[in-house]
Amino acid sequence: MRNNNFNEASITLISVLTALCLAIQLTPRPPNVEFTSLFTFTVGFIFGSIVGGFFGGFVMFVNGFLSPWGFAGLNMPFQMAGMSLMGFAGGIYRKFAREFASSNFLMEAPILGAFLTTLYDLITNFGVAVLYYITGTPFSLALLTALAYGTPFSIIHVLSNAAVFGTLFFPLIKSVNILVDGDNK
Protein backbone atom coordinates (compact mmCIF):
# COMPACT_ATOMS: atom_id res chain seq x y z
CA MET A 1 0.00 0.00 0.00
CA ARG A 2 0.96 3.63 -0.24
CA ASN A 3 3.07 5.55 2.29
CA ASN A 4 1.61 8.61 3.98
CA ASN A 5 3.88 11.18 2.36
CA PHE A 6 2.34 12.98 -0.57
CA ASN A 7 4.55 12.69 -3.59
CA GLU A 8 4.23 14.09 -7.09
CA ALA A 9 2.45 10.97 -8.25
CA SER A 10 -0.18 11.36 -5.53
CA ILE A 11 -0.83 15.00 -6.31
CA THR A 12 -0.96 14.29 -10.03
CA LEU A 13 -3.33 11.41 -9.45
CA ILE A 14 -5.66 13.48 -7.29
CA SER A 15 -5.66 16.21 -9.93
CA VAL A 16 -6.40 13.73 -12.71
CA LEU A 17 -9.15 12.10 -10.65
CA THR A 18 -10.65 15.53 -9.93
CA ALA A 19 -10.64 16.42 -13.62
CA LEU A 20 -12.04 13.01 -14.56
CA CYS A 21 -14.71 13.29 -11.91
CA LEU A 22 -15.78 16.73 -13.08
CA ALA A 23 -15.74 15.67 -16.73
CA ILE A 24 -18.06 12.75 -15.95
CA GLN A 25 -20.17 14.86 -13.61
CA LEU A 26 -20.67 17.57 -16.24
CA THR A 27 -21.39 15.13 -19.05
CA PRO A 28 -25.11 14.80 -19.87
CA ARG A 29 -26.26 11.52 -18.31
CA PRO A 30 -29.32 9.87 -16.81
CA PRO A 31 -30.35 11.60 -13.57
CA ASN A 32 -28.61 10.25 -10.46
CA VAL A 33 -26.33 7.86 -12.29
CA GLU A 34 -22.85 9.08 -11.37
CA PHE A 35 -19.29 8.03 -10.59
CA THR A 36 -18.30 10.93 -8.33
CA SER A 37 -19.28 9.00 -5.20
CA LEU A 38 -17.01 6.12 -6.17
CA PHE A 39 -14.06 8.39 -6.98
CA THR A 40 -14.53 10.39 -3.80
CA PHE A 41 -14.80 7.30 -1.64
CA THR A 42 -11.72 5.86 -3.36
CA VAL A 43 -9.70 9.07 -2.86
CA GLY A 44 -10.70 9.01 0.82
CA PHE A 45 -9.73 5.35 1.01
CA ILE A 46 -6.33 5.84 -0.60
CA PHE A 47 -5.31 9.28 0.69
CA GLY A 48 -7.25 9.53 3.94
CA SER A 49 -10.46 11.08 5.23
CA ILE A 50 -9.34 14.72 5.07
CA VAL A 51 -8.22 14.55 1.44
CA GLY A 52 -11.35 12.56 0.53
CA GLY A 53 -13.58 15.10 2.26
CA PHE A 54 -11.99 18.03 0.48
CA PHE A 55 -12.01 16.18 -2.82
CA GLY A 56 -15.77 15.49 -2.61
CA GLY A 57 -16.57 19.03 -1.47
CA PHE A 58 -14.51 20.60 -4.24
CA VAL A 59 -15.98 18.45 -7.01
CA MET A 60 -19.54 19.25 -5.88
CA PHE A 61 -18.66 22.94 -5.58
CA VAL A 62 -17.58 23.11 -9.23
CA ASN A 63 -20.42 20.84 -10.28
CA GLY A 64 -22.86 23.15 -8.54
CA PHE A 65 -22.07 25.90 -11.03
CA LEU A 66 -21.60 23.90 -14.21
CA SER A 67 -23.92 20.92 -13.90
CA PRO A 68 -26.04 20.14 -16.98
CA TRP A 69 -29.01 20.05 -14.59
CA GLY A 70 -28.48 23.73 -13.83
CA PHE A 71 -27.07 25.83 -11.00
CA ALA A 72 -27.39 23.98 -7.69
CA GLY A 73 -28.18 27.16 -5.76
CA LEU A 74 -29.10 26.70 -2.14
CA ASN A 75 -28.63 22.96 -2.39
CA MET A 76 -24.94 23.29 -3.19
CA PRO A 77 -23.69 23.32 0.44
CA PHE A 78 -25.75 20.21 1.11
CA GLN A 79 -24.31 18.47 -1.95
CA MET A 80 -20.80 19.45 -0.84
CA ALA A 81 -21.46 18.20 2.69
CA GLY A 82 -22.90 14.92 1.38
CA MET A 83 -20.01 14.25 -0.95
CA SER A 84 -17.45 15.25 1.69
CA LEU A 85 -19.03 12.67 3.96
CA MET A 86 -18.53 10.12 1.19
CA GLY A 87 -14.78 10.90 1.02
CA PHE A 88 -14.49 11.01 4.79
CA ALA A 89 -16.16 7.60 5.05
CA GLY A 90 -13.63 6.23 2.54
CA GLY A 91 -10.82 7.15 4.91
CA ILE A 92 -12.62 5.62 7.90
CA TYR A 93 -13.31 2.45 5.99
CA ARG A 94 -9.65 2.14 5.12
CA LYS A 95 -8.87 1.67 8.78
CA PHE A 96 -11.17 -1.32 9.01
CA ALA A 97 -10.56 -2.79 5.58
CA ARG A 98 -9.39 -6.35 5.25
CA GLU A 99 -7.41 -7.95 2.53
CA PHE A 100 -8.66 -6.55 -0.77
CA ALA A 101 -9.15 -9.93 -2.32
CA SER A 102 -11.39 -11.31 0.41
CA SER A 103 -14.94 -12.16 -0.57
CA ASN A 104 -16.26 -10.18 2.41
CA PHE A 105 -14.61 -7.05 1.07
CA LEU A 106 -16.29 -7.55 -2.29
CA MET A 107 -19.64 -7.90 -0.56
CA GLU A 108 -19.12 -4.85 1.65
CA ALA A 109 -18.37 -2.35 -1.12
CA PRO A 110 -21.85 -2.28 -2.73
CA ILE A 111 -23.60 -2.15 0.65
CA LEU A 112 -21.36 0.67 1.82
CA GLY A 113 -21.93 2.43 -1.49
CA ALA A 114 -25.69 2.06 -1.11
CA PHE A 115 -25.62 3.25 2.51
CA LEU A 116 -23.47 6.31 1.83
CA THR A 117 -25.57 7.17 -1.21
CA THR A 118 -28.68 6.98 0.97
CA LEU A 119 -27.03 9.35 3.45
CA TYR A 120 -26.03 11.69 0.62
CA ASP A 121 -29.60 11.71 -0.71
CA LEU A 122 -31.04 12.36 2.75
CA ILE A 123 -28.71 15.34 3.16
CA THR A 124 -29.45 16.82 -0.28
CA ASN A 125 -33.19 16.18 0.11
CA PHE A 126 -32.96 18.02 3.40
CA GLY A 127 -31.46 20.91 1.40
CA VAL A 128 -34.46 20.84 -0.90
CA ALA A 129 -36.73 20.88 2.17
CA VAL A 130 -34.93 23.98 3.45
CA LEU A 131 -35.59 25.64 0.08
CA TYR A 132 -39.31 24.75 0.32
CA TYR A 133 -39.36 26.08 3.86
CA ILE A 134 -37.81 29.37 2.80
CA THR A 135 -40.45 29.73 0.09
CA GLY A 136 -43.21 29.42 2.68
CA THR A 137 -44.01 25.72 3.14
CA PRO A 138 -44.28 24.57 6.78
CA PHE A 139 -41.07 22.75 7.66
CA SER A 140 -42.56 19.34 8.46
CA LEU A 141 -44.51 19.32 5.20
CA ALA A 142 -41.48 20.60 3.30
CA LEU A 143 -39.34 17.80 4.75
CA LEU A 144 -41.96 15.13 4.03
CA THR A 145 -42.48 16.38 0.49
CA ALA A 146 -38.77 16.66 -0.29
CA LEU A 147 -37.97 13.20 1.10
CA ALA A 148 -41.00 11.56 -0.50
CA TYR A 149 -40.62 13.06 -3.96
CA GLY A 150 -36.86 12.49 -3.82
CA THR A 151 -37.38 8.76 -3.27
CA PRO A 152 -37.83 7.67 -6.92
CA PHE A 153 -34.57 9.43 -7.80
CA SER A 154 -32.97 8.06 -4.67
CA ILE A 155 -33.83 4.51 -5.68
CA ILE A 156 -32.08 4.98 -9.03
CA HIS A 157 -29.12 6.59 -7.27
CA VAL A 158 -28.74 3.88 -4.61
CA LEU A 159 -29.11 0.97 -7.02
CA SER A 160 -26.74 2.46 -9.59
CA ASN A 161 -24.14 3.32 -6.96
CA ALA A 162 -24.40 -0.14 -5.38
CA ALA A 163 -23.66 -1.57 -8.81
CA VAL A 164 -20.83 0.91 -9.47
CA PHE A 165 -19.19 0.30 -6.08
CA GLY A 166 -19.64 -3.46 -6.38
CA THR A 167 -18.01 -3.71 -9.78
CA LEU A 168 -15.48 -0.88 -9.89
CA PHE A 169 -14.25 -0.16 -6.36
CA PHE A 170 -11.92 -3.11 -6.07
CA PRO A 171 -10.26 -2.75 -9.53
CA LEU A 172 -10.02 1.02 -9.01
CA ILE A 173 -8.15 0.95 -5.69
CA LYS A 174 -5.88 -1.75 -7.02
CA SER A 175 -4.98 0.37 -10.06
CA VAL A 176 -4.58 3.54 -8.03
CA ASN A 177 -2.31 1.79 -5.54
CA ILE A 178 -0.12 0.60 -8.38
CA LEU A 179 0.07 4.13 -9.76
CA VAL A 180 0.85 5.74 -6.43
CA ASP A 181 3.18 3.22 -4.86
CA GLY A 182 4.13 0.94 -7.71
CA ASP A 183 2.87 -1.66 -5.32
CA ASN A 184 1.38 -4.44 -7.40
CA LYS A 185 -0.45 -6.39 -4.76
Binding site: N104, A114, T118, L144, T145, A148, Y149, S154, I155
Partner: protein, 271 residues
Protein backbone atom coordinates in the same frame (compact mmCIF):
# COMPACT_ATOMS: atom_id res chain seq x y z
CA UNK B 1 -21.73 -17.04 15.94
CA UNK B 2 -22.31 -14.07 13.62
CA UNK B 3 -19.26 -11.91 13.13
CA UNK B 4 -19.57 -8.30 14.40
CA UNK B 5 -18.43 -6.90 11.07
CA UNK B 6 -21.10 -8.86 9.18
CA UNK B 7 -23.68 -7.57 11.65
CA UNK B 8 -22.66 -3.95 10.96
CA UNK B 9 -22.91 -4.46 7.21
CA UNK B 10 -26.30 -6.15 7.62
CA UNK B 11 -27.44 -3.21 9.77
CA UNK B 12 -26.30 -0.73 7.12
CA UNK B 13 -28.14 -2.70 4.44
CA UNK B 14 -31.26 -2.73 6.63
CA UNK B 15 -30.98 1.04 7.13
CA UNK B 16 -30.79 1.54 3.36
CA UNK B 17 -33.84 -0.63 2.86
CA UNK B 18 -35.74 1.08 5.71
CA UNK B 19 -34.90 4.53 4.44
CA UNK B 20 -36.00 3.76 0.89
CA UNK B 21 -39.12 1.92 2.04
CA UNK B 22 -40.11 4.84 4.30
CA UNK B 23 -39.51 7.32 1.52
CA UNK B 24 -41.51 5.21 -0.88
CA UNK B 25 -44.39 4.92 1.60
CA UNK B 26 -44.34 8.71 2.07
CA UNK B 27 -44.28 9.19 -1.71
CA UNK B 28 -47.22 6.83 -2.12
CA UNK B 29 -49.14 8.59 0.66
CA UNK B 30 -48.57 12.07 -0.80
CA UNK B 31 -49.55 10.89 -4.26
CA UNK B 32 -52.72 9.32 -2.86
CA UNK B 33 -53.60 12.58 -1.08
CA UNK B 34 -52.98 14.52 -4.30
CA UNK B 35 -55.10 12.16 -6.39
CA UNK B 36 -57.85 12.28 -3.80
CA UNK B 37 -57.89 16.08 -3.85
CA UNK B 38 -57.94 16.16 -7.66
CA UNK B 39 -60.66 13.54 -7.69
CA UNK B 40 -62.79 15.57 -5.26
CA UNK B 41 -62.38 18.72 -7.32
CA UNK B 42 -63.32 16.86 -10.50
CA UNK B 43 -66.32 15.28 -8.77
CA UNK B 44 -67.54 18.70 -7.65
CA UNK B 45 -67.14 20.00 -11.20
CA UNK B 46 -69.10 17.08 -12.60
CA UNK B 47 -71.83 17.56 -10.00
CA UNK B 48 -71.99 21.25 -10.90
CA UNK B 49 -72.32 20.42 -14.58
CA UNK B 50 -74.92 17.73 -13.93
CA UNK B 51 -77.04 20.01 -11.72
CA UNK B 52 -76.77 22.90 -14.15
CA UNK B 53 -77.67 20.60 -17.01
CA UNK B 54 -80.80 19.41 -15.21
CA UNK B 55 -81.80 22.97 -14.42
CA UNK B 56 -81.26 24.11 -18.01
CA UNK B 57 -83.30 21.23 -19.38
CA UNK B 58 -86.04 21.96 -16.84
CA UNK B 59 -86.31 25.57 -18.04
CA UNK B 60 -86.27 24.43 -21.64
CA UNK B 61 -89.05 21.98 -20.87
CA UNK B 62 -91.28 24.72 -19.42
CA UNK B 63 -90.82 26.88 -22.50
CA UNK B 64 -91.33 23.91 -24.83
CA UNK B 65 -94.62 23.10 -23.11
CA UNK B 66 -95.88 26.65 -23.65
CA UNK B 67 -94.65 26.51 -27.22
CA UNK B 68 -96.34 23.16 -27.71
CA UNK B 69 -99.65 24.58 -26.45
CA UNK B 70 -99.39 27.51 -28.82
CA UNK B 71 -98.46 25.25 -31.71
CA UNK B 72 -101.42 22.96 -30.93
CA UNK B 73 -103.81 25.88 -30.97
CA UNK B 74 -102.24 27.13 -34.18
CA UNK B 75 -102.70 23.81 -35.97
CA UNK B 76 -106.32 23.54 -34.84
CA UNK B 77 -107.09 27.07 -35.94
CA UNK B 78 -109.19 27.23 -39.12
CA UNK B 79 -109.85 30.94 -39.56
CA UNK B 80 -107.92 33.43 -41.69
CA UNK B 81 -106.84 35.97 -39.07
CA UNK B 82 -104.08 34.75 -36.76
CA UNK B 83 -103.84 37.94 -34.75
CA UNK B 84 -105.23 36.24 -31.63
CA UNK B 85 -101.94 34.32 -31.35
CA UNK B 86 -99.73 37.40 -31.46
CA UNK B 87 -100.11 38.30 -27.80
CA UNK B 88 -99.41 34.71 -26.71
CA UNK B 89 -96.35 34.66 -28.93
CA UNK B 90 -95.08 37.92 -27.44
CA UNK B 91 -95.53 36.41 -23.98
CA UNK B 92 -93.67 33.26 -25.02
CA UNK B 93 -90.81 35.26 -26.52
CA UNK B 94 -90.62 37.45 -23.41
CA UNK B 95 -90.42 34.35 -21.25
CA UNK B 96 -87.59 33.11 -23.42
CA UNK B 97 -85.77 36.41 -23.04
CA UNK B 98 -86.29 36.50 -19.28
CA UNK B 99 -85.09 32.94 -18.79
CA UNK B 100 -81.97 33.25 -20.89
CA UNK B 101 -81.04 36.93 -20.59
CA UNK B 102 -77.33 36.32 -19.94
CA UNK B 103 -76.99 33.74 -22.68
CA UNK B 104 -78.72 35.92 -25.27
CA UNK B 105 -76.77 39.03 -24.33
CA UNK B 106 -73.50 37.08 -24.37
CA UNK B 107 -73.86 36.07 -27.99
CA UNK B 108 -74.28 38.72 -30.71
CA UNK B 109 -75.79 36.15 -33.05
CA UNK B 110 -78.46 35.05 -30.58
CA UNK B 111 -79.12 38.63 -29.53
CA UNK B 112 -79.64 39.65 -33.15
CA UNK B 113 -81.94 36.70 -33.82
CA UNK B 114 -83.95 37.40 -30.67
CA UNK B 115 -84.32 41.10 -31.44
CA UNK B 116 -85.31 40.37 -35.04
CA UNK B 117 -88.00 38.01 -33.83
CA UNK B 118 -89.22 40.51 -31.26
CA UNK B 119 -89.35 43.32 -33.86
CA UNK B 120 -91.18 41.11 -36.31
CA UNK B 121 -93.86 40.13 -33.80
CA UNK B 122 -94.21 43.72 -32.58
CA UNK B 123 -94.88 44.74 -36.19
CA UNK B 124 -97.59 42.11 -36.42
CA UNK B 125 -99.05 43.32 -33.14
CA UNK B 126 -100.04 46.58 -34.80
CA UNK B 127 -101.91 44.85 -37.60
CA UNK B 128 -105.60 43.98 -37.46
CA UNK B 129 -105.23 41.07 -39.81
CA UNK B 130 -102.33 38.62 -39.46
CA UNK B 131 -102.11 35.95 -42.13
CA UNK B 132 -100.83 32.44 -41.72
CA UNK B 133 -97.86 33.21 -44.01
CA UNK B 134 -96.89 36.07 -41.76
CA UNK B 135 -97.23 34.19 -38.49
CA UNK B 136 -95.98 30.70 -39.26
CA UNK B 137 -92.30 31.59 -40.00
CA UNK B 138 -92.09 33.32 -36.62
CA UNK B 139 -93.54 30.30 -34.90
CA UNK B 140 -91.01 27.98 -36.53
CA UNK B 141 -88.15 30.39 -35.94
CA UNK B 142 -88.94 30.43 -32.22
CA UNK B 143 -88.19 26.73 -31.97
CA UNK B 144 -84.87 27.10 -33.77
CA UNK B 145 -83.92 30.03 -31.55
CA UNK B 146 -84.83 28.13 -28.39
CA UNK B 147 -82.67 25.20 -29.44
CA UNK B 148 -79.73 27.48 -30.27
CA UNK B 149 -80.06 29.29 -26.94
CA UNK B 150 -80.23 26.07 -24.94
CA UNK B 151 -77.22 24.69 -26.82
CA UNK B 152 -75.29 27.85 -26.01
CA UNK B 153 -76.45 27.68 -22.39
CA UNK B 154 -75.13 24.12 -22.06
CA UNK B 155 -71.89 25.13 -23.75
CA UNK B 156 -71.51 27.98 -21.24
CA UNK B 157 -72.26 25.58 -18.42
CA UNK B 158 -69.32 23.38 -19.42
CA UNK B 159 -67.24 26.53 -19.81
CA UNK B 160 -68.02 27.67 -16.27
CA UNK B 161 -66.58 24.46 -14.89
CA UNK B 162 -63.53 24.08 -17.05
CA UNK B 163 -61.27 26.42 -18.95
CA UNK B 164 -58.89 26.44 -21.87
CA UNK B 165 -55.78 28.58 -22.26
CA UNK B 166 -55.13 30.57 -25.39
CA UNK B 167 -52.70 33.24 -26.54
CA UNK B 168 -53.90 36.36 -28.24
CA UNK B 169 -51.69 38.90 -29.96
CA UNK B 170 -52.94 42.35 -30.86
CA UNK B 171 -50.65 44.04 -33.36
CA UNK B 172 -51.55 47.70 -33.79
CA UNK B 173 -49.47 47.99 -36.94
CA UNK B 174 -47.33 50.80 -35.55
CA UNK B 175 -44.79 48.68 -33.72
CA UNK B 176 -47.00 48.21 -30.66
CA UNK B 177 -47.73 44.53 -30.14
CA UNK B 178 -49.52 43.22 -27.05
CA UNK B 179 -49.67 39.56 -26.04
CA UNK B 180 -52.32 38.11 -23.76
CA UNK B 181 -52.33 34.67 -22.18
CA UNK B 182 -55.97 34.14 -21.35
CA UNK B 183 -58.11 31.48 -19.69
CA UNK B 184 -61.48 31.23 -21.32
CA UNK B 185 -64.41 28.87 -21.75
CA UNK B 186 -64.33 25.91 -24.10
CA UNK B 187 -66.47 26.72 -27.11
CA UNK B 188 -65.70 30.43 -26.89
CA UNK B 189 -65.16 32.22 -30.19
CA UNK B 190 -62.36 34.55 -31.17
CA UNK B 191 -64.88 37.36 -30.95
CA UNK B 192 -65.63 36.50 -27.30
CA UNK B 193 -61.93 36.24 -26.52
CA UNK B 194 -61.21 39.63 -28.08
CA UNK B 195 -64.13 41.12 -26.21
CA UNK B 196 -62.67 39.64 -23.01
CA UNK B 197 -59.26 41.30 -23.32
CA UNK B 198 -59.94 44.49 -25.26
CA UNK B 199 -62.48 47.24 -25.72
CA UNK B 200 -64.07 46.57 -29.08
CA UNK B 201 -66.65 47.92 -31.49
CA UNK B 202 -68.05 45.75 -34.25
CA UNK B 203 -70.67 45.56 -36.95
CA UNK B 204 -73.10 42.71 -37.25
CA UNK B 205 -74.15 41.52 -40.71
CA UNK B 206 -77.09 39.15 -40.62
CA UNK B 207 -76.53 37.86 -44.13
CA UNK B 208 -72.76 37.46 -43.94
CA UNK B 209 -71.68 33.84 -43.39
CA UNK B 210 -69.86 32.06 -41.85
CA UNK B 211 -69.71 34.48 -38.96
CA UNK B 212 -71.61 37.72 -38.86
CA UNK B 213 -69.21 40.01 -37.05
CA UNK B 214 -66.85 42.48 -38.68
CA UNK B 215 -64.42 44.00 -36.21
CA UNK B 216 -64.41 47.79 -36.34
CA UNK B 217 -62.22 49.01 -33.53
CA UNK B 218 -59.93 47.37 -31.00
CA UNK B 219 -58.94 49.53 -28.05
CA UNK B 220 -59.95 52.64 -29.96
CA UNK B 221 -58.04 51.89 -33.15
CA UNK B 222 -60.62 52.30 -35.92
CA UNK B 223 -60.46 51.36 -39.61
CA UNK B 224 -58.90 53.94 -41.89
CA UNK B 225 -60.47 53.70 -45.35
CA UNK B 226 -58.16 56.48 -46.56
CA UNK B 227 -55.09 54.36 -45.76
CA UNK B 228 -56.91 51.11 -46.51
CA UNK B 229 -56.17 49.84 -43.01
CA UNK B 230 -58.48 47.40 -41.25
CA UNK B 231 -58.38 44.75 -38.56
CA UNK B 232 -57.64 41.20 -39.77
CA UNK B 233 -57.25 38.07 -37.77
CA UNK B 234 -54.95 35.05 -38.07
CA UNK B 235 -54.36 31.81 -36.24
CA UNK B 236 -50.99 30.14 -35.72
CA UNK B 237 -50.58 26.82 -37.53
CA UNK B 238 -48.13 24.64 -35.58
CA UNK B 239 -47.68 22.20 -38.45
CA UNK B 240 -46.50 24.77 -40.98
CA UNK B 241 -45.15 27.21 -38.35
CA UNK B 242 -46.87 30.20 -39.87
CA UNK B 243 -49.80 32.54 -39.38
CA UNK B 244 -52.87 31.57 -41.37
CA UNK B 245 -55.36 34.21 -42.43
CA UNK B 246 -58.84 33.81 -40.93
CA UNK B 247 -61.33 33.49 -43.74
CA UNK B 248 -64.43 33.36 -41.55
CA UNK B 249 -65.94 35.92 -39.20
CA UNK B 250 -64.24 35.95 -35.81
CA UNK B 251 -67.52 35.00 -34.11
CA UNK B 252 -67.60 31.75 -36.09
CA UNK B 253 -64.09 30.67 -35.10
CA UNK B 254 -64.09 28.44 -32.03
CA UNK B 255 -60.92 28.59 -29.96
CA UNK B 256 -58.90 25.52 -29.10
CA UNK B 257 -56.83 24.82 -26.01
CA UNK B 258 -53.32 26.31 -26.30
CA UNK B 259 -54.24 27.95 -29.59
CA UNK B 260 -52.55 31.19 -30.65
CA UNK B 261 -54.43 33.98 -32.43
CA UNK B 262 -53.53 37.40 -33.73
CA UNK B 263 -55.33 40.59 -34.65
CA UNK B 264 -53.37 42.87 -36.92
CA UNK B 265 -54.21 46.34 -38.08
CA UNK B 266 -52.87 46.66 -41.61
CA UNK B 267 -53.50 47.34 -45.25
CA UNK B 268 -55.17 44.43 -46.98
CA UNK B 269 -52.56 42.41 -48.85
CA UNK B 270 -49.62 43.55 -46.73
CA UNK B 271 -47.78 40.70 -45.08
Amino acid sequence: MIEKRALIIATLATLVWASIATGFAAYYYLEMVRYQKESNVNRQLLLGVANGYKEALGRQDLLLRDYNDLLGEYYMFTEENYSIFVEKYVQLLSNLGNNYTATINGSPELKEAYENLMNAIQNLKGQNIVTKDEFEPLLMEFNRLLKSIVAKELENLIGENTTIKVNLCIDYGNGTVRWYNVSTSPGASLFELTNQVAKIEYEYYQKMEPGHVLMKTINGVAPSPAEGKYWFWYYWDENSNQWVFGQVGCDAWTLRDNGTYRWIYKVWGDS
